[in-house]
């Protein structure tokens, strides 16, 4: 281990320089020689039989090279099925790159036009005539359960894809024995991730080598390579996936998308490089959606505020296919598991069901189910505070685990290694000046100013172990890897399975390597996102970059350091254990004299091996893997507070300020952590106040464009002050937990609680997200 194990906290994110200069290289910036453009013809119906496709007029358009249908692609790309066998029975149906018989959502690609430009491809796409026979669509999850509901997959005999029940026992008795029982229903509308850069793929198949190169907007190149190779009938070794700079991921770019894999298949079919870039309108009807839950819940509390029992029932929609390879099950699963997770209680019952519907598939988007779980939990805790007359901070203190109680097993069986819920809440209250905010709120009410304070104390599951996905048979790696190579000039090349969509993973691993080896960070170059040049790793998801890849880098760097010292020891005939590396130079710890430098070591091992002792063949290349296997997830925690104001005449909510105290274990780079928090909080504000995918009863998305699907803009966003508590996990040497999702998990509940706090004088509440002005005015009875 390095002598002072201190990770430089002030290091800038060097890799961002290219972005401020407009030198990021994103998918659509890449042009290959001879490249053609693909445009997909998408279904205008949510559910329809494809009676026929007439491509003749489209083929006539000048500049069009091919028009391709599902029948053409079927021999090239096998259908896939998403399934996790470790989570109980999943009824699941195969999905094709382009469907042959039926379309199952509005926006599903049905044919592809390949042409010399995107514009020409679009011209021709308008001329592809698909003869649809419309079928009844399943839209609303509750309607999907009705006995006479049409079936999304008639072969399955049901619209229920999956369900789960958890019962720790004696819930009814505990509720009956509680002083107060509160029953509430929460709904959380569908939303989508809206990465600023849309998805896309450039596929280039070389028939001579049977080698397929795909530039892909993906967070997980190695996982995608496995799946693409499998579906396209190639060896993995003959598939190279390159993820260039990615303009935002948020989970949306984890999945297998039919249009992307179709693009790869098309390249194989026509033996030309082809590019597909989704435009914004396509994004809304083809990117995964998320949320879309209705949760009914009951909580029993005693007059002292102690929670006696909790019960939740979640109904969620999957879309027409479980998204590959993670499935759409994890959202409702995490609602069932995570709702009670922050609190010390004894009796819990949960049910969750996921149903098929003719809408875009749902999948993992930032927070995955946990924002819903915490909305429910935090809403119930506030309701309990109101019912018992307790302060909302106080009731939390009485129910959160004590900070010295860890490790504990949460009520749904989760192992919580070490959290700091109480200390985080205390710190938060101080930071917000909670007492003063309460006074201001109370004083305002007499003047018709309705301010509200909202709190949320949440846990965030990060860095999942293989038990979550791989154990269920999904090709999802929980490992990550780091390969380090000492170059002849004494600098370090690093290749890692991690990818970076702006989180700063590159900066973090640079820092870890720099610190562990003892080399300036500008002497390290990181390569990532290319399966041909990086070691196998799981990529970036579930806030795992720092925790998992950071640890792999730490292990590799530790080993590299030892190897370097071994060579120095051999060259200079000094014992390795009295040598150390500082800023690229090697010192004798006892004499404090400079002995050598990385430059000398590099030169020696690459060129001047004749100067080394005989039989000594140093390998200054190291690969280390790390996978988190001890805990299903490594849990982090966060306490978040909101100060807001509701205009009771317009229903508009103004966010005055947000404070957050998170504990993501060891902090490697505070600025990165803070912006992860803020970014995730602002995405949560989107969920909370603006975002909803509005569908009509036939399954048409009505607001699938940037004009009508509202996202948070700078003008309405508050300043967000962040602080931390550091409780490192003992699972790794690095001690880092994930930090990218706590904000979105906590802020939705906090905003709902803040609005309801503001509305308290009127005795009304809202519980249906997004909390739009119209819903607030309806709750107030200003409109009926």
């Amino acid at each position: 281990m390095p002598d002072p194990f201190v990770i430089d906290p002030g290091l800038a994110r060097l890799s961002a320089r290219k972005f401020v200069q407009g030198r990021g290289r994103y998918l659509d910036d890449i042009t290959l020689t001879g490249m053609l453009h693909v445009c997909f013809v998408r279904s205008p119906y949510a559910h329809a039989k494809i009676a026929g496709i007439d491509t003749s007029a489209a083929r006539e358009v000048g500049g069009v090279s091919h028009v391709i249908t599902g029948r053409d692609l079927a021999p090239v790309c096998r259908p896939w099925t998403a399934q996790l066998t470790n989570l109980g029975e999943m009824k699941t149906a195969p999905q094709s790159a382009l469907p042959v018989e039926t379309v199952k959502w509005q926006g599903e690609p049905v044919a592809a036009v390949v042409a010399s430009s995107r514009a020409v491809a679009e011209d021709a796409a308008e001329l592809v005539e698909v003869d649809y026979e419309e079928l009844p669509a399943v839209v609303d999850p509750e309607a999907a359960l009705k006995p006479d509901a049409p079936l999304v997959h008639p072969d399955l005999g049901t619209n229920v894809a999956w369900s789960i029940n958890i019962d720790t026992g004696e819930v009814d008795a505990a509720l009956a024995g509680s002083d107060v029982v509160i029953e509430k229903t929460f709904s959380v509308d569908r939303q989508t991730g809206v990465t600023l850069e849309p998805r896309g793929a450039i596929a280039d198949y070389d028939p001579a080598k049977c080698y397929l190169t795909i530039h892909l907007t993906s967070q997980v190149p190695h996982i995608q390579r496995y799946i693409y190779a499998r579906q396209l009938g190639l060896n993995e070794a003959n598939v190279r996936i390159i993820c260039p700079d990615i303009g935002g991921g948020f989970g949306l770019k984890l999945h297998v998308y039919s249009d992307e894999i179709a693009t790869a298949a098309i390249s194989m079919l026509i033996r030309r490089p082809v590019k597909f870039t989704a435009d914004r309108l396509e994004s809304f009807v083809s990117d995964i959606h998320a949320r879309g839950h209705r949760v009914s819940a009951r909580i029993g509390v005693n007059n002292d505020g102690k929670i006696q029992a909790l019960e939740v029932n979640d109904l969620a929609g999957a879309g027409p296919f479980l998204i590959h390879p993670r499935t759409s099950v994890i959202e409702p699963l995490l609602v069932a598991i995570c709702t009670p997770l922050a609190y010390d209680l004894k009796h819990y019952r949960a049910g969750a069901s996921l149903v098929y519907q003719n809408k875009v598939s749902t999948g993992q988007y930032r927070g995955v189910g946990m924002p819903v779980a915490s909305l429910v939990a935090e809403g119930l805790v506030d309701a309990a505070a109101r019912a018992t007359g307790l302060d909302k901070a106080e009731i939390r203190k009485r129910n959160l685990f004590r900070d010295d109680a860890y490790p504990v097993t949460g009520i749904s069986g989760e192992y919580l290694e070490c959290l700091s819920q109480q200390a985080s809440l205390d710190k938060l209250l101080k930071m917000m000046d909670y007492g003063r905010l309460q006074e201001e709120r109370d004083a305002g009410r007499d003047k018709g100013i309705y301010k509200g304070i909202g709190l949320a104390t949440v846990v965030e599951g990060t860095s999942p172990s293989p038990a979550l996905y791989a154990a269920g048979g999904a090709p999802i790696s929980s490992r990550d890897a780091c390969t380090l190579r000492l170059e002849a000039g004494g600098n370090i090349s690093c290749a890692t399975g991690l990818t970076d969509q702006g989180q700063g993973g590159e900066a973090v691993v640079t820092q870890v390597i720099a610190d562990v080896i003892g080399i300036p960070s500008n002497e390290i170059n990181i390569v990532m996102g290319d399966t041909a040049t990086t070691p196998f790793g799981g990529g970036t998801w579930a806030s795992r970059s720092t925790a998992i890849a950071g640890e792999a880098c730490l292990l590799a760097a530790t080993e590299m350091r030892e190897k370097i010292l071994e060579v120095a020891a051999a060259i200079h005939e000094q014992p390795a254990d009295i040598l150390t590396i500082r800023a690229g130079e090697i010192f004798n710890l006892e004499t404090n004299e400079k002995v050598s430098s990385l430059a000398e070591i590099g030169k020696t091992v690459h060129f001047n091996t004749h100067t080394l002792p005989a039989e000594f063949e140093p390998e200054l290349i190291v690969t280390r893997h790390y996978s988190q296997r001890e805990q299903l997830m490594v849990y982090a925690n966060c306490a978040l507070g909101v100060s807001l104001e509701v205009d009771v005449n317009t229903g508009l909510v103004t966010l005055h300020k947000i404070w957050a105290v998170d504990d993501c274990g060891r902090i490697i780079n505070e600025k990165l952590v803070v912006e992860q928090m803020r970014g995730s909080i602002v995405q949560g504000i989107g969920s909370s106040l603006y975002e909803e995918c509005i569908y009509d009863e036939t399954g048409q998305l009505l607001n699938g464009n940037m004009f009508e699907y509202l996202l948070p803009m700078a003008g309405e966003m508050p300043d967000i002050e962040c602080d931390h508590i550091e409780t490192p996990t003992k699972a790794t040497q690095l001690g880092a937990k994930g930090c990218g999702e706590a904000g979105i998990i906590a802020v939705c509940g906090a905003i709902m609680n803040g609005i309801n706090d503001a509305l308290e004088p009127f005795g009304v509440e809202v519980s249906s997200q997004p909390f739009t002005p119209e819903k607030i005015l309806r709750a107030l009875g200003k409109i009926v």
Binding site: I694, E708, G715, L777, V784
Partner: protein, 284 residues
């Protein structure tokens, strides 16, 4: 998405535009700022055969005072309106309103002529034109006509403008010492189109409204001048009761319809709320 194919002509003179409009080669569209037209082209919601770009026509530009009216050329950019001292002095309602139109980059390109030609019911500027009793100068090959804004807006995206017409300018009566104005709109995010709005231009003489022009927008197919409301407020002592009568009269004056952004009930509620607020603000 990319637009469908079209021909593009960069017009060198107003006459050239009028000629092209007179004998159109298919479906022809005038291109001004492009801030409304181009999104519809990009989404292929509109596929003209030809665009006539009028951006080089300096005679359509400029803000000046002539014969007791403020004249604003159709090609005047929103940003020019926003910064104009003439506008601030002579039509302060426009200055108030324009800041709520879109964002800086859009205001740098978008034009008042394009905005009022399109006549989006949720737009601020058509409502201001009606409240200010503006006149719109329109020309075609046959000649020039001046249409009162109060007669110009016909129905949803339907105005007095015909296919062979070019809007030349809009003129406004000059504000006087007793002119007061107010602006309200409901947006969830700054710069969005309104979901309900109210602009008022009025004369307040010795504590009495001698005229009062309340125009509601984003509540119906066109901006609506609420004449009944005005009547209740003009030359009256404004009491709480009068205000409530005026609010009640909104329903009679304006046939409010809901849209995908907002229900009819909410629009009605907000219309009344804004009227109450505005009277309070102006009356003091």
């Amino acid at each position: 998405m990319k637009p469908a194919k079209f021909n593009y002509v960069r017009a060198g003179s107003v006459d050239q535009v009028l000629d092209l409009l007179e004998q159109p080669a298919g479906f022809v569209k005038i291109l001004a700022g492009g801030q409304s037209l181009n999104p519809t082209l990009n989404m292929r919601l509109s596929a003209p055969d030809m665009l006539i770009d009028i951006n080089d026509l300096d005679e359509l530009r400029g803000i000046r005072v002539e014969e007791d009216r403020l004249h604003v050329g159709a090609l005047t950019r929103h940003a020019e309106l926003e910064r104009s001292e003439l506008v601030a002095g002579h039509a302060p309602l426009l200055t108030k309103a324009i800041q709520h139109v879109a964002h800086a980059a859009v205001r740098n390109r978008g034009t008042i002529g394009g905005n009022v030609s399109l006549a989006d019911p949720a737009s601020e500027l058509p409502a201001c034109c009606v409240a200010l009793d503006a006149s719109i100068t329109i020309r075609n090959k046959q000649g020039t006509r001046v249409v009162r804004a109060r007669d110009y807006f016909k129905d949803l995206y339907e105005t007095d403008l015909q296919e062979n017409d070019l809007m030349i300018s809009i003129s406004f009566p000059l504000a006087g010492d007793t002119t007061v104005c107010a602006f309200r709109e409901f947006v969830r995010r700054r710069g969005d189109f309104a979901s309900t709005g109210l602009v008022v231009n009025a004369e307040l003489v010795d504590g009495v409204f001698t005229s009062f022009s309340p125009v509601f927008f984003a509540v119906a197919n066109t901006p609506v001048l609420a004449a009944g409301v005005a009547q209740l407020l003009v030359n009256r002592t404004i009491t709480g009761e009068v205000v409530e009568q005026a609010v009640a009269a909104v329903d009679h004056d304006v046939e409010i319809t809901g849209d995908s952004n907002m229900s009819e009930e909410m629009k009605r509620h907000l219309a009344g709320h804004y009227l109450r607020e505005v009277i309070g603000e102006l009356y003091g």
